[in-house]
């Protein structure tokens, strides 16, 4: 996989030198081989260094990388079985949210996630991962189904946000998202949500009200996509990098704020470099959280979930006459 992000350019340059040497094949001299080994170590070191201190905007680029594993990839790499369920029974089948009954190490779960699509054709079919109301209503149907059959719900978040179109308004985009928030808050089965790429706004939260919120370490989750926030704040989408920095949207930021319960490690250089390893880390984290949550009695689970969201918010109670 090439290093194709602009901040990875120094590493890409090292890779090019390695390839030039390797093209000599049989004619490679012993000191060429030594140089390749040195360069490869340097690639590893520099990549590790770059990813240790991603700037907010670099993180956005990594989280949106087109080769990042998506919901369908994780399903293929993690699950022993997956029976996909389609449609909201109201209007249609929205492919930007896929879901079905999965077996994770023998445990039946309801797995629901955004899907952006891999090639152009799939991307268009998935509307680039931006759901219509019927996507959220499909997710809702699957979640209440899971509740009925005592399956934990596992969701994967990876969207710029809900789609903004006239038809979406006609079919009630706001209502669809709002209903999911309410139903998830009261759903009588454990819910684990994981941001696997991009967490964008209400369109992400609509499958994200969970007992545990996990985030892959290079992902972000934002009240609005940085471009949208820049437009709202400063009427200019080109200030998106400033918005990304100001809003503190990175996975480590959210963990520090207590909004994210755990970070899931990614392979060096991002999940897109090694899908298998990314899936193995995610699977281990999911199993750990599911083991814990499925032991909690439902009434306590719901009280805890309520308290978790109830307590989010930072505000001041001024002391009279001493401040301001």
């Amino acid at each position: 996989m090439p290093y194709d992000l602009d901040f990875e350019r120094p590493v890409a340059e090292l890779e090019r030198r390695i390839q030039t040497l390797q093209r000599r094949g049989e004619r490679m001299r012993p000191d060429d081989r030594a140089q390749v080994a040195t360069l490869e170590r340097e690639v590893q070191r520099q990549t590790r260094e770059l990813y240790r201190s991603l700037s907010p905007w670099q993180r956005v680029q990594v989280a949106r990388h087109r080769h990042r594993p998506q919901t369908s990839d994780y399903i293929r790499l993690m699950c022993d079985d997956f029976f996909e369920l389609h449609g909201d029974r109201r209007f249609g089948d929205d492919r930007s949210i896929m879901g079905g009954i999965a077996s994770l190490d023998g445990r039946a779960i309801m797995l629901i996630g955004h899907q952006k699509g891999h090639d152009i054709k799939e991307r268009q079919e998935c509307n680039f991962g931006m759901p219509h109301p019927e996507g959220y209503r499909k997710a809702l149907r699957l979640m209440t189904h899971a509740e009925r059959f005592h399956m934990p719900v596992v969701t994967f978040i990876d969207t710029q946000g809900a789609f903004l179109g006239l038809e979406d308004e006609q079919r009630g985009q706001s209502q669809a998202i709002a209903e999911n928030l309410l139903v998830m808050a009261r759903l009588r089965t454990p819910i684990v949500a994981t941001v696997i790429g991009e967490g964008g706004s209400g369109g992400a939260l609509a499958i994200g009200v969970a007992d545990s919120l996990l985030m892959l370490e290079n992902t972000f989750y934002s009240v609005a996509a940085p471009e949208a926030a820049a437009t709202i704040l400063w009427r200019d989408a080109s200030f998106a990098p400033d918005a990304a920095a100001a809003m503190k949207i990175g996975a480590p930021d959210l963990r520090d704020m207590g909004l994210c319960d755990a970070l899931v490690p990614e392979p060096v250089g991002g999940a897109h470099r090694d899908h298998e390893m990314a899936a193995a880390h995610l699977k281990a984290a999911l199993n750990e959280h599911l083991d814990e949550l499925t032991r909690v009695p439902t009434a306590i689970l719901l009280d805890r979930r309520y308290a978790k969201f109830r307590n989010i918010g930072v505000y001041a109670r001024p002391v009279p006459a001493t401040v301001d």
Partner: protein, 293 residues
């Protein structure tokens, strides 16, 4: 009942008991131009007409206190959680001004602590927990303070089995508090989930504008959803949609009438009728509760 022989829009000014007749007068502007029909209106007349254009029926935005006066019985509104103030949890770095400064600025301009005011009140003698937004305070945006106030109001409604009314006027979540703002959508919706399980009614009133994270959470979760005429209502505003899909939208897209036609709300109610319609609903719920016990 209104006297139908009178011009419809003057009905309220005929009614001497209208709460808004006593609203604070506009200080300097003697004339106001209607943004819809461009008519030059006498400010005093506009006040008397519950800030609805006499010519075209355009509903001007109301401040939180004007709204409270419009809807509640005189001297019954008892505010709570008024001490809550916005902090700056992200130390938000704005390109032009600081978040703390813009909050202080809005506080001075509006006399409000934040974009929502909550309290107990009576509507036509019936008790309610009422929350109203003020669009003048950073676009009525929802951050931690607004989310906390609404949640306390909803929880009070549940605890005291008192119907909850929320009057929205908001562009959505407040960017300057980042993910804390987004999570207020989940927080308020979770509280409404409990209110619904307790069987306490929640009436959501949508006014201009109700969009974004506010429309996509508590505003569209009402047992009954009412809207004032001509309000901008939707997940996204028409300009945002036009940018996203590169298409011109019909003029009525994302208005109260549009969402009514698409089955998303129960009624469009003229401002002068809003209080009476809320009272009617409250009486019907009260009757239902009497039967249940």
């Amino acid at each position: 009942m209104r006297d139908e022989s009178q011009p419809a829009l003057e009905a309220v000014s005929q009614n001497g008991s209208s709460a808004v007749a006593t609203a604070r007068p506009l200080p300097t502007n003697l004339a106001v131009k209607c943004p819809n029909c461009r008519e030059l209106l006498v400010a005093k007349d506009l006040e008397k007409n519950v800030k609805v254009c006499q010519r075209c029926g355009h509903h001007f935005k109301l401040s939180a206190w004007e709204r409270i006066q419009l809807l509640t019985d005189p001297d019954t509104f008892k505010e709570f959680a008024e001490e809550l103030r916005s902090a700056d949890p992200l130390s938000f770095v704005d390109r032009t001004t600081s978040y703390a400064r813009s909050v202080a600025d809005k506080r001075a301009k509006t006399g409000l602590e934040d974009a929502a005011v909550v309290g107990r009140a009576r509507v036509d003698g019936l008790p309610v927990v009422l929350a109203v937004f003020d669009f003048n305070f950073i676009g009525g945006s929802m951050g931690s303070v607004v989310g906390e106030k609404l949640t306390r109001a909803i929880e009070m409604g549940e605890r005291e089995r008192t119907p909850v009314i929320i009057v929205s006027a908001s562009g959505g979540a407040r960017m300057q508090e980042g993910m804390y703002s987004l999570m207020q959508m989940a927080k308020t919706s979770a509280a409404l989930g409990r209110l619904a399980e307790a069987g306490v009614p929640y009436i959501s009133v949508l006014t201009d504008p109700t969009t974004g994270g506010v429309s996509a959470s508590f505003a569209f979760l009402g047992d009954v959803i009412l809207a004032e005429p001509g309000a901008l209502i939707g997940f996204a505003g028409p300009r945002v949609i036009e940018q996203a899909i590169h298409q011109r939208l019909p003029a009525d897209a994302n208005t109260s009438e549009f969402v009514l036609a698409h089955g998303m709300i129960d009624a469009v109610v003229h401002r002068r009728d809003l209080r009476a319609e809320l009272a009617r609903l409250l009486r019907l719920y009260r009757a239902a509760e009497t039967v249940a016990h």
